[in-house]
Symmetry: C2
Subunit: 225 residues, 2 copies
DNA sequence: CTCCGGATAATAGTTTTACTACCATTTATA
DNA sequence: TATAAATGGTAGTAAAACTATTATCCGGAG
């Protein structure tokens, strides 16, 4: 099970595989907690090292810098989403039903009963909502992209795009639609928490369900034409 | 004309009004150039001061920090968009035509013939595309929002939402739709330039037109139900 | 005209972050 | 057991983000 939940990420994402060592696993688990708590800007390798009981230099042996660590964590989440999608849509033949399931998974509106022992999955999702855009909103996008660091996200989009194209083979914007749905799922959750006048989520309790309704409405309106 | 193009921004956005002094105007004009060139992370008050021929301490008299300066610049853009929307839809009565015009304006697909003497409007738009999310993806969102720093963006959304509600009074997600369209306009342009597999823009030349088509397709599919 | 007060800008710091070079220790293997 | 390779720890540096202090300008009161 553990192996299944630990997808193979691009090896360039790290200098040394954090899953191989005790310190490495501590880095992953503790950085999620700390970024969730402090936000990415205030998060530093020094604070992380103190929390772990290690030193800055040791952390730099695993990740080139804190941005690469963020890319690793976010990539892990995309790979994990992709795994969940494959798992839950495994024997669903109707593409409409598949897309509906996928939207449920990407809005995190489904209940998550799988165990991820090394990682606080809820904390990671909060980090994804607040910080994921920062993985590519950087001057080094093109370099980072060229090195294949966004492979997980692009694979996830490609998988969902295939479902969209199965539903509507002649729809002209399948890639844009999928990336918009993925981005909007996170952004609307962020807005519902911090800038509610930009969202339509009356109560925080039902926010994820409301967002799911919104995304389903967009997807199926657009694809049913 | 100049006064019209210089909307009243929230006074809390700055410590001293940059439009009142020579140095202030230089800060605005030069910071747009520098952020466009370096990206927000590598942009510093020291570099800006050197470029202007001033000092760090002087800049801190105008803006609390570089993040507040970014919020100011981005707010200026939202206010400017809102002005353009009012100007171009002034005597358009059909809400469908108005929304179509608005989408053209927010994708920057329309030709801009207005003069903005103090500001390189094209450079500012590139900054908006690459950096706007960073104005709210910060630990201080709630504080910054409470101080009214996102007023311009929220007013812009509110104006467009009103048009949406005129078209479809019973559509349940007007706020989410508008913020998604606004966010997607920028993000799809970014993707078309840096992560093209997430967009549907075959050539860079037609990117803005393609994105406009995508957004129109979403908006009118959703609202025509 | 000149002296004074307040506003503005420049100088020269401090603290923190991001990173690096170097040293010590442990572990794996010949 | 010897040794080198891997791992971790120490002690820096350069730059960024701010800040406290000092210098300069500028408009009015005497």
């Amino acid at each position: 099970m553990l192996t299944t939940l630990r997808p193979e990420l691009n090896e360039k994402l790290f200098l040394r595989d954090p899953h191989e060592t005790d310190l490495g696993r501590k880095i992953i688990a503790t950085s999620v907690q700390l970024i969730d708590e402090l936000g990415f800007e205030l998060f530093t390798f020094k604070k992380l090292a103190q929390q772990i009981g290690s030193t800055e230099a040791s952390l730099y042996r695993y990740f080139e810098n804190k941005h690469r660590l963020l890319v690793y964590l976010i990539s892990w989440h995309w790979a994990w989403l992709r795994f969940q999608i494959r798992f839950h849509t495994h024997n669903v033949t109707d593409p409409h039903a598949r897309l509906r399931l996928i939207l449920g998974i990407i809005t995190n509106a489904h209940r998550d009963n799988a165990a991820t022992p090394e990682l606080d999955e809820a904390a990671l999702y909060r980090v994804v909502v607040a910080e994921a855009s920062k993985t590519y909103l950087t001057r080094e996008v093109d370099q980072v992209n060229h090195d294949g660091f966004y492979r997980e996200y692009k694979s996830l989009c490609a998988d969902i795009t295939a479902v969209v194209q199965e539903i509507a083979p002649h729809y002209p914007y399948p890639h844009a639609l999928v990336s918009t749905l993925l981005e909007s799922a996170r952004k609307q959750l962020f807005f519902s928490q911090h800038l509610p006048s930009l969202a339509d989520t009356p109560t925080p309790e039902t926010a994820k369900q409301d967002i799911l309704g919104f995304l389903e409405n967009i997807a199926f309106s657009v694809l049913s034409k």
